[in-house]
Each structure stands twice: as C-alpha cells, then as structure tokens.
Symmetry: C2
Subunit: 288 residues, 2 copies
C-alpha cells in the first residue's frame, strides 16, 4: 500500500522536513509506503485531503516566535471534513546561504517574511545596509541566488544541500528557542494511526464562534473547562471576516475527546457557543 | 506649536491615510499644526515616540479579515513607556493599479502579502494565471510598475493618485466588510487629547503573562472581568518567545481604567498574572 502525503512546498521548506520525518516514522511503524506531494499554499495542501487527492496533509500551525499560522486555522474552520491525527514539533535553525566570498559582498537578502523577521537582530548587526526582499517561501528565496555573488537567502540546512549552495553563517535566528509545531491532518473517516514509543501528550483542538453581543460570552465558554479541571494550553482568536470585532476562538485542551470529563465539557460548550467544531484528539511527536 | 506624527510608511499606505485623517481632526479640534514622518517598520514607528523623535505614532492593530498586526502588539509589550491615545477604524478598498490596456495583458501582480491574500478570490477569478509577488508594502508594489505594460499592483486609491498611475479595477477585495483598526500612541506623560463630536466608544487595552504551569490560569484571570460585568471585546494570544506553548494575552475591555469597577478588576488581575501592562483608555473614531 502506498499513500500520498500532501505538504506545503516547495521541496526544501521546513514543512517538507516535518513531512519527511513523519513519513519515516510511519514507514518504520506500519510498513506503509508513502510519497510526498508538495502544494503551493496551505489552503491547497489541506484542500488536497478534503478532495481525496491525498490521504494525509502536513501543515504548520504555530511558531514559538512568530505565533499562529493563521491560514491553517482559517482553512480548517472552512473545511468540514478534516481531523488532526498528530502534532509534530521541530526545532528551527536558519542559515545564511550565499555564493558570496564574505558577508561584506552581500547587497540583498531574500527570504520568507517570517524568516527575515526571525533573524532581524542578526541582520542588523552583521548586514546593516543590505536590502531585505520578501519571497513566498524560504526555498523560493534560494532560486533568486543563481550563483550571484552579491545576494544571499535565509533558508534551512536541508534546502542548502538540496540546491547545492554554500552556507555562509549557521543558526542566525535571534531566539535560540525557535520551534515550529505542525499538524498531520486526514479525513474524519480515514483515520490512520501511527504507533510510536515517542514522548507523548494528549491534546484536543476545537474552535467556536459566539452568540453576537452577549457580554461575557467568551468567559462563560472557557469556564466550562475550568469547572471540569481541563487545562487549556492555547487560545487563539481569529476574525470571523463578517465584521470587525467578531471572532472565532481556537482552543487546544489537554484532554482526549473520548474522556468522560471532556465529553461533559463539549456538551456544555455546545450550549454556550454559536457554532462548535472539534478537530480531534492527538499526540505530539518531538523531533529527536 | 508643530508636532510630529510618526507613521508606518512609505507615503500612500493605508496607515498614512489614517495618520492624515487623524492630523486633520487634530488641527481642526485644537489648532495644533502637525507634520507626518514615515518610518519603514512598525517597530521603528513606535520606537520614534519612545525615543522622543515624534510626539505621536499611528500604527495598524487589526484587520477584520487578516486579524491582528502582531508586530504592533509585540512592540507595545517590549516598550514600557507608551500609551494608546485613540483608536481609528478605516474601511479598506483595494485597487488593481496598472498601465496595462486590459486584464489579459497582465503577467505579474505585486503587493503586500496581506493585500494579495485579501484579493485571492478576485485574482483566481479574473487573473488565474498571473504570478503573485510579495512586496514590503502596498506602496512599494507600485514602484515595481514603472510604466511596464504587463505588471500590476494592488494598492489604495490614494496611492494611485500619489504616483499618478491608472486604476484598472476598483474594490477588488473579496470581503466587502474590510476594515482596519489603528492606534494613535504617545508617551505616558505626554498625553495629547483630541476633542471630538464623533461616534465614541470607551476601551482599555492591556496585556499580561501568566505564572508558568498553573492549570486554569487564563480562565482565572478572565473571570475577574466576568465577575465585575466588564465585557471583553477582544482577546489575542502571542508567544512569549521564551518557549513553545508560553503566551502573552492582549485584551481590550469595554471600560475606562479610571472607573471604580475597572480599578477593582485591575487590582485583582495583577494578583492572578505574572506581569501586567496597561496600555491606557481611549475612544474610537470611525472614518466618516
């Protein structure tokens, strides 16, 4: 059996690294073979699973410096058919990649806006006069180099190897504690369980909208979890896109939806919310 | 008396429009004259007020489609000296600006990633094959056109006028209810009050971090407001940048910090949080 794993591309991005890591674990644990299929956007990556073009998708959810990847949250809310199978946590180390002989020769640095922002302090210290140009991904930045001796890109070590380009400086991110969390997503009725002996934690993710103009509605909804002693590890608000000041709330709770406590919480929560969507329960795999 | 208002630049951006609107109200209301000073980043715009180079700063906070402008929240948390003087709410209408004779001729569209994302549906329908290239601001996108007949930029009507470039399509944003909220910020001890007869609302903004590993800590903090019947109009989480899963929470409450209820809430809240910062109370001015 060969399955398809969709991921945010192109090859060489951090999401591809996460997908490769997951694929290797899956093959080792179940014997299933898998191929990777890169998509140009998060909406298209998740859409591929929704449309049966792929069995699984790997998408970024959150970075420890930049915060939420809002496109993942917004798309998951729109598609009704998707469940989270697993969380992946990967350390991020940015490299300055360039064919230049030294830092002094560099005039332009390309990268994804998040990577540029995560290396802002390093860039101000070592390359204070360069022009910073945003690209659609850290890999796309590499394609701009083309053996030019005055340009550089910020990308991953794997991308440098893949495109056979030299690394001029390593680990240039300002905060050493830089991690990105990913979700592995599938259709509800096609759950695919990876058996692991790795470090585990049990989370459930869900999102809800609230009745309009009801003061204290958010606190009333969150109290459900406090009363049942269920810890919330994360809360994120996103605009409903209907009008300024109306939000959806995305929550990670430290419990499994099959637990009786969580069942009570969700029953109560559905009474206190306008629309409630449950994205499933899953464990988190830390990159070793 | 002439004061300096810093804003996120360059000229022609939506933030400059908001700053001009505020400047006009200020001059009409107080007789004070003001000059605008554009800065290349939100951190530098707020930093100008912190360093006494400008008396006021205008920065974007939130868009009704894209959500929070995280750099504004992160910078406000880092600088200890700043207070919000006023909120501004402005409708956003994106224009397709190009010297091309018709849509068929366009091969490349430049804009800020948020603007590209806000027009995604329109672009897929009318320009499905064009290449989308991100730029640092909607105005910078215009500088890429240079009378080229196969490129276009997404920017504001004012930017098109400023750079004397033709508008090929108007109001191309996918969601008609598109608004951006801005904050006018000054140093604590240099408050500057704009007297207005405009539609008003009273808000206070604050942010806090929570004691680590204390289950239910967020709900306990939010309950303070529920118990005192203070409505929260917004809650936003941001990573602390110390470790994955640790957050700061930014809150807008519908009350003035000088009200007794709010005083009680803040006293109680400081007991339940690790670090609490209050960014002031202010009214919101809607663009007429």
């Amino acid at each position: 059996m060969t399955i398809t794993i969709a991921h945010l591309g192109p090859p060489g991005t951090y999401t591809e690294q996460a997908a490769i890591f997951y694929l290797n674990q899956l093959t080792k644990s179940t014997g299933v073979e898998a191929i990777l299929c890169p998509y140009p956007s998060i909406a298209q990556t998740l859409g591929a699973v929704d449309a049966n073009s792929a069995l699984l998708a790997v998408v970024p959810v959150e970075n420890s410096i930049e915060g939420s990847v809002t496109m993942t949250l917004d798309t998951l809310w729109l598609l009704n058919n998707l469940q989270i199978q697993m969380g992946l946590v990967m350390p991020i180390a940015h490299m300055l990649i360039s064919c230049a002989a030294s830092l002094e020769d560099i005039k332009i640095v390309y990268s994804h806006p998040q990577a540029l922002s995560q290396c802002q302090g390093w860039l101000e210290q070592f390359l204070p006069t360069v022009e910073l140009i945003p690209s659609n991904s850290t890999t796309e930045a590499l394609l701009k180099l083309q053996h030019n001796l005055t340009t550089a890109a910020i990308s991953s070590q794997r991308a440098a190897q893949l495109y056979n380009l030299p690394i001029l400086a390593s680990g240039i991110n300002d905060y050493p504690e830089n991690f990105t969390r990913f979700w592995v997503v599938s259709q509800t009725h096609k759950a695919f369980t990876l058996q692991t002996d790795f470090k585990k934690a049990s989370y459930s993710s869900l999102a809800f909208s609230l009745p309009a103009n009801l003061p204290g509605a958010l606190v009333k909804a969150l109290q459900v979890f406090a009363h049942l002693d269920i810890n919330l590890s994360r809360i994120e608000s996103r605009p409903t896109k209907r009008s300024l000041g109306e939000y959806l709330f995305f929550i990670d709770a430290e419990a499994d939806v099959s637990e009786p406590q969580m069942q009570s919480a969700l029953a109560e929560l559905s009474e206190r919310t306008e629309l409630l969507k449950i994205f499933g329960s899953y464990n988190v795999l830390q990159f070793s």
